[in-house]
């Protein structure tokens, strides 16, 4: 790190020139930042304090939208679903990729091919993943049900995405399929950094593979795990795109998360008919606060990981 903050106040000629060049280099990115991040965000905050249909003049109503949120059962339901989805997907997508990475790191012939295959779902768009799995889950002729019938479990076959009890687990499976390869690679990169002599010492002491995993690999990977958990939590709070494609939040709000809820309010079929743009933006502010909470969680976790 060569980030020395210069002492302000002694700007000689060449130094001043260098400062100016630095500012010139970052000018475009700052301009974009102001136009497409800071300004919309500030405006978002203002709109959430108004009643507005998206055209005409917004009517300032203070915290009314936020008060209405508290009485909105669908809001609470989608908040709960968001949190459940986030917690479950984080647990699954932290533990399984770690095991996968440890398996892969044993140095197999063809490990590059394995890695390529595991990473494939990450490369295609979420529209592709969503549409593909939606027809695989199809109640009548989907691959999942065909396979269940094939192994004699035809009794389990049903319309996975249309049943409120199975819709979330079904989407979580897709999420795992989609992202496991990515988190596996992060762990894999982390594994390369572990000092091999630790394992050699453990071997001499007669440690089993499981003990090695638990007493060496897991503790040494703690900083990497912190990153994986953070990315998962952020992804969970954003858990929106896959659900948007696969179910649109249905059936009957069973897979509704904050993202699909606010999107439906702002751009859905009723958008423009009822003045809910302000209300939708208030929901998006809640998403933002949750996202920020996740970021602080990250700082806290990485700090803890360093202290240990």
């Amino acid at each position: 790190m060569s980030a020395s903050t210069a002492t302000v106040g002694r700007y000689s000629g060449p130094k001043l020139q260098r400062y100016l060049v630095g500012y010139l280099f970052i000018l475009p990115i700052v301009a974009f930042f102001l136009t497409f991040v800071l300004y919309p965000f500030a405006r978002s905050f203002y709109i959430s304090l108004t009643q507005w249909a998206g055209f005409g003049v917004p009517r300032f109503v203070g915290l009314m939208n936020y008060q209405n949120l508290l009485d909105d059962p669908i809001f609470w339901q989608s908040l709960r679903t968001t949190l459940v989805y986030t917690v479950v997907s984080t647990i699954l997508q932290t533990i399984l990729p770690l095991l996968l990475a440890v398996l892969l790191a044993a140095g197999w012939r063809g490990s590059v091919l394995f890695r390529t295959i595991f990473f494939m779902p990450q490369v295609v768009s979420l529209v592709v993943s969503g549409v593909l799995w939606q027809i695989m889950y199809d109640g009548n002729f989907g691959l999942i049900n065909e396979a269940l019938k094939g192994i004699g479990l035809g009794g389990l076959a049903h319309n996975w995405l249309a049943d409120p009890n199975t819709v979330l687990p079904a989407i979580l499976v897709v999420s795992l399929w989609q992202s496991a390869g990515f988190f596996m690679l992060i762990y894999f990169a982390g594994l390369q950094g572990i000092d091999q002599t630790l394992y050699e010492a453990a071997k001499v002491d007669g440690a089993t593979k499981l003990k090695e995993l638990w007493y060496i690999t897991v503790p040494m990977l703690r900083p990497v795990t912190a990153v994986v958990v953070t990315l998962n939590v952020l992804g969970g709070v954003k858990a929106f795109e896959l659900i948007f494609v696969m179910t649109g939040g249905g059936p009957n709000h069973a897979s509704e998360v904050l993202g699909t809820y606010l999107y439906g309010l702002a751009f859905g079929s009723t958008a423009g008919a009822i003045p809910v743009v302000g209300y939708a933006t208030a929901v998006s502010m809640v998403v933002f606060v949750l996202g920020m909470a996740a970021v602080f969680l990250q700082f806290w976790m990485t700090r803890r990981a360093r202290d240990v």
Binding site: S2, A3, A6, R18, Y19, F25, I29, V30, F32, F33, T35, F36, Y39, P40, F41, R43, S44, G54, L100, L103, A106, W108, T116, F118, F119, M120, V123, V124, S125, V127, V128, V131, L132, W133, I135, M136, F141, L143, W177, G181, F182, L185, A189, Y199, E200, K203, V204, L234, K238, F240, F244, V245, G259, Y263, F267, V277, T281, M285, G291, V295
Partner: protein, 300 residues
Amino acid sequence: MSSTLQQATVTRNGQAEADRQSRRRYQTKRGIARTIGYLALTLLSVGTAFPFVWMVLTSLRASNTVFSEGIIPRTFTFAAYVQVWTQVNLPRSFLISLWITGATVLAVVFLATLAGYAFAKLDFPAKRILYFTLLSTMLLPGTAVIVPLFLELKQFNLLDTSSGLILVYIGTSLPFAMFLMRAFFETLPAELADSARVDGASEFRIFWSVMLPLAGPGVATLVIFQFMFTWNEFILANTLLQTPDKLPLQPVLLSMQGQYSTNWPILCAALVISIVPIVVVYVRMQRQFVQGLTMGALKT
């Protein structure tokens, strides 16, 4: 690994025979464990790949055989591809996607290289504060700004135009891109720039003639990453573009989902066509691809 064991056998001669036996036992045990591990990996990768295999198989069916011939069709036909190519006008949206992606990648690479270099190698007041402010927006959930972005483009008369979408893509991609390029420029030695400075080269000259030629690998990583992100993005594209004729690939796939919900061969053919460019790029440039993704995650 076995060198410690060897040392042990050399140093403790009396124990050599016992050691050899235990090692043999250990190796058979290891052989079994390896077989199980290999089987597990094979099964998991087959499971991961199978949806794609099924997608390709389904796209090669005649549309009337989906519900009658089980998982693997008995006859193969390219009819669905022909239909997608002509009826849905997929080529048009394919070209639109290429244009949007290409323009975004070019702009992002150019601007992020400048900014990344400045944050890595130049010195100016408030540098750290600026850097972290820009970086922190990387963590904003996209849904939190989608409504105001929509309103903003409407205000500037850029709604439903590809240039509006490109501008939004550039704005939202730049923080991460800058982060990636900065991480890369950090790895280049400062001596090069210093000696050029001693020779009296201007800062711009140093960047252009000394540093930029060395930035190849970093730029390659960013190009691939940005290509993948832009090609696959669909929420913003779906929201900020509305005229059917202007839609890039992903929103078209989304609308096909409703339109052809029971015609799986057509749906799957469209999906296959849409992933061809990205799979080609991925397979050919896997190293940078993986490097870019893990670099972003681990170098925080």
